[in-house]
Amino acid sequence: MRIGVLALQGAFREHMMTFEALGATSVAVRLPEQLNDVSGLVIPGGESTAISKLMRTYGFYDAIRQQHGAGMAVWGTCAGAILMARTILDALPDQEPLGVMDIDVRRNAYGRQIDSFEADLDFRGLSDGTFRGVFIRAPWIERTGEGVDVLAEHEGRVVAARQRTLLVTTFHPELTGDPRVHRFFLDEVVGA
């Protein structure tokens, strides 16, 4: 299975290493043409403003929407989750979401870096116990629409959700060395 990881900026290498360790092929995607032959795309953590500007300059908005329409699964972590939302709360004035998933996400919801944290999460659909969530200047999911399943919450806030071939996590599984969410994406979300 070929998984693209959007490599404009951010923690894309850690995602790629985790997929490779699970036996999938991963591709660093820097230009939209590279989306043509992947079954899934990860939009990684990074700075959502920097990533969205580069996405616009290089024509990724239409390309991702189009490929998703044709069956490509998409998983956004942190900044990626922000960009997949229908509405970004506390966005920059010109920051456009992809709008592929029926959720509203608030940027920097917990505060500044000093408020970044780790916590154990009950992640629905994962076996073998809790998952260690690493939240870095993280957003949270403030609204989920119909057809969106909540997969994990932290202190009453939605931090992971899924809508058919779309997955969002506001935390960073790629920084933990625990591949269970990557395995979940490959097994349950891609091709669903």
């Binding site: 404009l8 951010g10 990074g46 700075e47 300059t57 000093i114 970044s116 944290f117 780790e118 809790t130």
Partner: protein, 299 residues
């Protein structure tokens, strides 16, 4: 659901994690809210709030200190991306002040005049993460041992001359390759030669890389400079004086961002390098007296 008991802040993983999120990006020096907005609009992943950029610090001479808290607060208010600020080497009270202002990263920086000629800040004492400069692997590992969650090669700040940045990045990568190729029993002597803790030398040997993100800094002035440093193996770049000392800062900033992402694509680097206006005036390193070279600060 889980209660609060498993929730922890200020861990090494959230400190190094923010640096991981900055990778492949450009961190820009700014001295005002207006410059910070220009940097954010150009696609900077973070800004460094300063009272003066290194080129002006160099020109002004005298003792360079932490910025006025007002400047830092104005920048924090102006942008939604992470804000960094510099404290003097060893000046842990400036660091305490910056943490209380809410900066997202502290740069314990040789650009400012050192406050302690023997000790750096004990960075483990802080919840906010630190980035520190290095010229070689030993210096990088000493800073990491003190709690730095990110390093940057120093280059020579405020010169617009990339030669020292290249020298330091090549030194770090060559030494990593050397350590990785050693036999286990040679690591003890290597730790002594590098003047670095054995455990960290062993980690580099086992993993073939630094345990934290390493950016390049000090002299980057053009999109090609940024791509050069990325091809030499850094994780991202700091651009200090190079942007706001140039003719068209907004355009140059955006071009450097694009060249950092597409650092292996010469067609894109060529395209974004066109018509950027005047680059900052550079300084030859040999024209700077040794006592005024910022890279020599730090131990």
């Amino acid at each position: 659901m889980n209660g609060n008991s498993t929730t922890t802040t200020g861990t090494l993983r959230v400190k190094t994690g923010l640096a991981e999120m900055l990778k492949g990006g450009v961190i820009m020096d700014v001295v005002s809210a207006e410059q910070a907005k220009i940097a954010e609009d150009a696609g900077a992943v973070a800004v460094m709030a300063l009272e003066r950029v290194p080129a002006d610090i160099r020109a002004a001479g005298g003792v360079a200190r932490m910025a006025d808290p007002t400047v830092v607060e104005q920048v924090i208010k102006a942008v939604s991306i992470p804000v960094m600020a510099k404290c003097r080497i060893g000046h842990f009270v400036e660091a305490q002040v910056l943490q209380s202002l809410g900066v997202d990263y502290i740069d314990e920086s040789e650009v400012l005049t050192p406050a302690d000629e023997e000790h750096h800040v004990n960075k483990w004492d802080f919840a906010v993460p630190f980035v520190c400069g290095c010229r070689n692997l030993g210096e990088a590992l000493r800073r990491i041992a003190e709690g730095a969650a990110m390093v940057r090669t120093k280059g020579e700040p405020g010169t617009g001359n990339v030669v020292e940045a290249v020298r330091h990045m090549r030194t770090v990568t060559d030494q990593i390759a050397w350590v990785a190729g050693l036999r286990e029993e040679q690591l003890f002597a290597a730790a002594k030669d590098l003047e670095a803790p054995y455990e960290l030398v062993k980690w580099v040997h086992d993993n073939g890389r630094l345990p934290v993100v390493n950016f390049s800094a000090g002299g980057i002035a053009t999109p090609a400079d940024a791509a050069l440093m990325m091809q030499l193996g850094c994780d991202g770049v700091f651009v200090g004086s190079g942007i706001f000392k140039s003719g068209d800062p907004a355009k140059r900033a955006k071009a450097i961002v694009e060249a950092t992402t597409h650092y292996q694509d010469a067609d894109i680097i060529a395209k974004v390098s066109r018509n950027l206006g005047e680059a900052m005036v550079g300084i030859n390193i040999s024209d700077i007296p040794e006592s005024e070279r910022m890279q020599e600060r730090g131990w």
